[in-house]
Amino acid sequence: QGIGGQDPGPRPLELKEVFTLFQIQYNRSYSNPAEHARRLDIFARNLARAQQLQEDDLGTAEFGVTPFSDLTEEEFGQLYGNQRAAGRAPNVDRKVGSGERGES
């Protein structure tokens, strides 16, 4: 209860508590305390980044804690990025303008 007798409301969760909730929700455990500390640091950076993305976004997107919040941007790219997707398309039949099928 506040000094003036008013209830200040629920206190915001601290980073470590949010991280613990993340670990529970996504079933994450780390091999040793050093790794735990490293992942907590990455998690904090991702939360800050998510906040910045939300500030910058021109739509209605919300960014925040996700299953990938304990990964660096590089790790995320390495684990989920399809580098081959950026390759050149083969010489496929491009039917510009209409969805109709032409001659084979």
Binding site: E55, L58, G59, A61, E62, T66, Y80, A86, G87, D93
Partner: protein
Amino acid sequence: VPSTCDWRKARNIISSVRNQKSCKCCWAMAAAGNIEALWAIKHKMSVEVSVQELLDCDRCGNGCSGGYIWDAFITVMNNSGLASERDYPFRGEARAHKCQAEKYKKVAWIQDFIMLPENEQGMARYLATEGPITVSINMQLLQNYKNGVIRPAPGTCDPQHVDHIVLLVGFGKTKSGERRQTEAVLSQSKPRPRHSTPYWILKNSWGAQWGEEGYFRLHRGSNACGITRYPLTALVDTPVKKRHTISCPP
């Protein structure tokens, strides 16, 4: 082109959201989703095709290291179709066993595949009239995405660097004045534009726990994250007896 289209609302067209886990097989999962949706629309029969067959039989080798969407379609044509997910289930690793395409009965097949025009109006028209299509995007903003329509600020999602393949299943517009979920509660953030935002609806392959139950929305009309770079789709013929196809629900 209708103003809205959402194939998820049509019964048994869109299969459940897959999870690629540690296998970089978005290309195979997007191709499978494309074929399943088109098969359901044209044949009025829902199927779940084998992603593992695409990984094991891909001509380019290790399918868990990424792949090309066109190679998925070429693999389907070379093998005269795909087995069912039930017969040839996903294991999350490529070529743990050799290609077993010959072993199982085919449940769906394609006649060809095409690359669509690289413009969003054309993509919307094809999506609404024919069915879901595959697209390549820059996935940079998806790591921290929770919900809503992503409209990247200039310079935050390079449209030239596409590194993820997903299935486009619909499009629509937000209602005028629609705000973020947290804004509605806290109203701390800077005010959002009052006009409606056009968006695409995309099916991802990171499980239903991610994003909007496995889906996400991306701004439509600005080539957000390079969505127009490689729009591709398989071609599935309608059987003669079933010429009356299903249209996209609004």
